[in-house]
C-alpha cells in the first residue's frame, strides 16, 4: 500500500550552501538546468595598508564569471580575473545527492575540474603550457540540519610551471568549509584550505576566509574577509602570501545573479 508507507518517497536535501562558492572555493551546489549564473567578485587590498590607502579599498582585483547548468547535475563555467589576467574554465558534476526517505544518502558529492591560464605579459614570455594549471576536487558535503552544513574538499592542483622552481608542481591540499544559517536568508560561512606540508615554499600561507551571505530573490551577496588576492584555485590555495596574524586581510565580495532560460509555457490561470 503506497499511500500508507513512505517508502516510495525520496527527499533530496537541497540548498546545502546558498551559492556555488563557499567563499573562495567551490561548494557542492551546481547551477540548475538552463540557468545562468553571473558572478562578480572583488577582492580589495590589505586592511593593514592603513588610512593612506583607505584600508586597502584604493586597489582591487576582480573576477567576472559565467556559469551555466546543462542539466540539474552538470554545469560548465568560465571566468576572467584581473589578477595575473587569468582565464579559467570549469566543470562540475553532482555525483551523489544527500537524501532521506527510501534512498538514504548521508552526503552530497560533487566532482570539480578546472583549468586556468595566466595571460599577463612576462619577461621572458612563457608558453601557454607553462602558464597553465589544472585543479581536480572531490567536494563532499553534508547538511546536518536546516542551519548547519559542512564540506571537505580534497584537492589536487597541478601547475605546469611553479613560480618558485623548488615548489612541487603537483600540490595536494584539502579544504574544509561550513555555513551556519542565521535567518532564512542569511548565513555565516567559514573556509580553510590546508596544503599538506613539504610541498610549497614556507612563505606561502594557507587560505582562510570568513563571509556573511545574504540572499535576496535571484541574488546572493557574500561579504567576506580573506588572506588571498586571487580567486582561482591555483592562486588562493597554492599562492596565498598574506597572513591573518600580520593583518594581511582582504575585504571582498561575491555577487551572484541567476537568470533562468527555461522556456515559458502558457498556463491557464
Amino acid at each position: 500500500m503506497k499511500l500508507v508507507s513512505d517508502s516510495n518517497e525520496v527527499f533530496v536535501r537541497t540548498a546545502t550552501f546558498k551559492a556555488r562558492r563557499i567563499i573562495n572555493g567551490h561548494s557542492v551546489e551546481t547551477v540548475g538546468k538552463n540557468n545562468l549564473d553571473f558572478i562578480i567578485s572583488h577582492r580589495f587590498d590589505r586592511l593593514n595598508r592603513g588610512f593612506e590607502d583607505f584600508f586597502g579599498l584604493d586597489a582591487a582585483t576582480n573576477r567576472l564569471g559565467l556559469e551555466y547548468g546543462i542539466n540539474d547535475r552538470f554545469m560548465i563555467g568560465m571566468g576572467r580575473s584581473s589578477f595575473q589576467k587569468a582565464f579559467d574554465y570549469l566543470t562540475k558534476y553532482k555525483l551523489i545527492r544527500q537524501s532521506t526517505g527510501s534512498i538514504n544518502t548521508p552526503v552530497s558529492v560533487t566532482l570539480f575540474g578546472g583549468h586556468a591560464i595566466r595571460t599577463q605579459k612576462t619577461v621572458p614570455q612563457l608558453s601557454a603550457f607553462d602558464r597553465s594549471s589544472y585543479t581536480a576536487q572531490i567536494l563532499i558535503a553534508r547538511k546536518f540540519s536546516e542551519a548547519f552544513s559542512l564540506q571537505i574538499s580534497p584537492t589536487l592542483i597541478h601547475r605546469n610551471r611553479a613560480d618558485i622552481f623548488t615548489d612541487n608542481r603537483t600540490v595536494l591540499a584539502s579544504g574544509i568549509g561550513g555555513r551556519m544559517k542565521l535567518t532564512k536568508r542569511t548565513s555565516i560561512n567559514g573556509e580553510y584550505n590546508y596544503v599538506f606540508p613539504n610541498q610549497i615554499n614556507d612563505n606561502y600561507k594557507n587560505n582562510l576566509a570568513f563571509s556573511f551571505d545574504l540572499e535576496t530573490g535571484g541574488h546572493v551577496f557574500q561579504l567576506l574577509f580573506t588572506n588571498s588576492f586571487g580567486m582561482t584555485e591555483r592562486q588562493f590555495i597554492t599562492e596565498t602570501d598574506g597572513s591573518w596574524g600580520s593583518g594581511d586581510i582582504h575585504f571582498g565580495f561575491n555577487i551572484s545573479r541567476t537568470f533562468s532560460f527555461e522556456k515559458k509555457k502558457k498556463v491557464n490561470p
Binding site: L3, R13, A15, G32, N35, D72, K184, R185, G217, S260
Partner: protein, 183 residues
C-alpha cells in the same frame, strides 16, 4: 511526523471500518499552482501526490509531498522549499475531509461535489470547503478541483523586497485518477 502518524491512523481506520471494494486510491495525480503578478509568473507542477477516497462514507484524504513540486526556474524551486514552504520541516501538504452531498458514487456519471475538511500547508491547519467534479466510469473515478490558497492563512511570509513578485493568493488546480484499492 505527527501529521504522518495521524494520516496512517486515518487510513488504517479506513481499512478496517469499510469494505475493500468501496475504497479507491489514486494511481495518477496532477497538482499544479499558479501565481500571477505584473512582475513575475510562478507555476509549478507535482505528480507525486496521493489520495484515497472511500465511497461508503465519502471520506477523502490527499497527501502532497511539497518538495516534489517542479518549477521551471530551479532557483524559484529552491526558494519555495527553503524560504516559503520550509519543506524539510513540513514535508507534506494534506487535506482530510468528507464529501458533503449524499451521492451514490458507484453509478457512472458526472457529479459536482463539495467537500469540507482540514487543509494543512506549511504546518498550519485551515478549515476549508472545496467544490469539484467527480467523473465516475466503469471502474475508475476522476476528481477535479480548483481552489485558491491565501498565503497569509498558512503563515507563509513574503519579505517586503519581493512582495510585488508573489501574489498573496495562489490558484491551485488538482486532478486525481482513482482505481479500486488493492492491497
Amino acid at each position: 511526523m505527527k501529521q504522518y502518524l495521524i494520516l496512517v491512523a486515518f487510513i488504517l481506520t479506513f481499512n478496517f471500518a469499510s469494505a475493500q471494494n468501496k475504497l479507491y486510491s489514486s494511481n495518477k495525480s496532477d497538482v499544479s499552482f499558479f501565481s500571477k503578478t505584473p512582475l513575475q509568473d510562478i507555476d509549478a507542477k507535482n505528480t507525486r501526490a496521493n489520495s484515497i477516497i472511500n465511497l461508503s462514507n465519502r471520506e477523502l484524504v490527499v497527501r502532497i509531498p511539497v518538495s516534489s513540486f517542479q518549477f521551471k526556474n530551479k532557483l524559484m524551486q529552491e526558494h519555495f522549499n527553503e524560504n516559503y514552504l520550509e519543506s524539510e520541516k513540513f514535508p507534506y501538504a494534506t487535506f482530510k475531509g468528507k464529501i458533503i452531498e449524499v451521492l451514490d458514487l458507484g453509478k457512472p456519471g458526472v457529479y459536482s461535489v463539495n467537500a469540507s475538511g482540514i487543509l494543512t500547508i506549511h504546518g498550519v491547519d485551515q478549515e476549508r470547503k472545496f467544490s469539484g467534479k467527480i467523473t465516475v466510469a466503469e471502474s475508475t473515478l476522476v476528481l477535479e478541483t480548483a481552489f485558491d490558497v491565501m498565503l497569509i492563512d498558512h503563515k507563509i511570509d513574503i519579505p517586503k523586497l519581493v512582495f510585488k513578485k508573489i501574489a498573496e493568493k495562489i490558484a491551485v488546480n488538482a486532478s486525481f485518477n482513482y482505481i479500486p484499492f488493492k492491497k
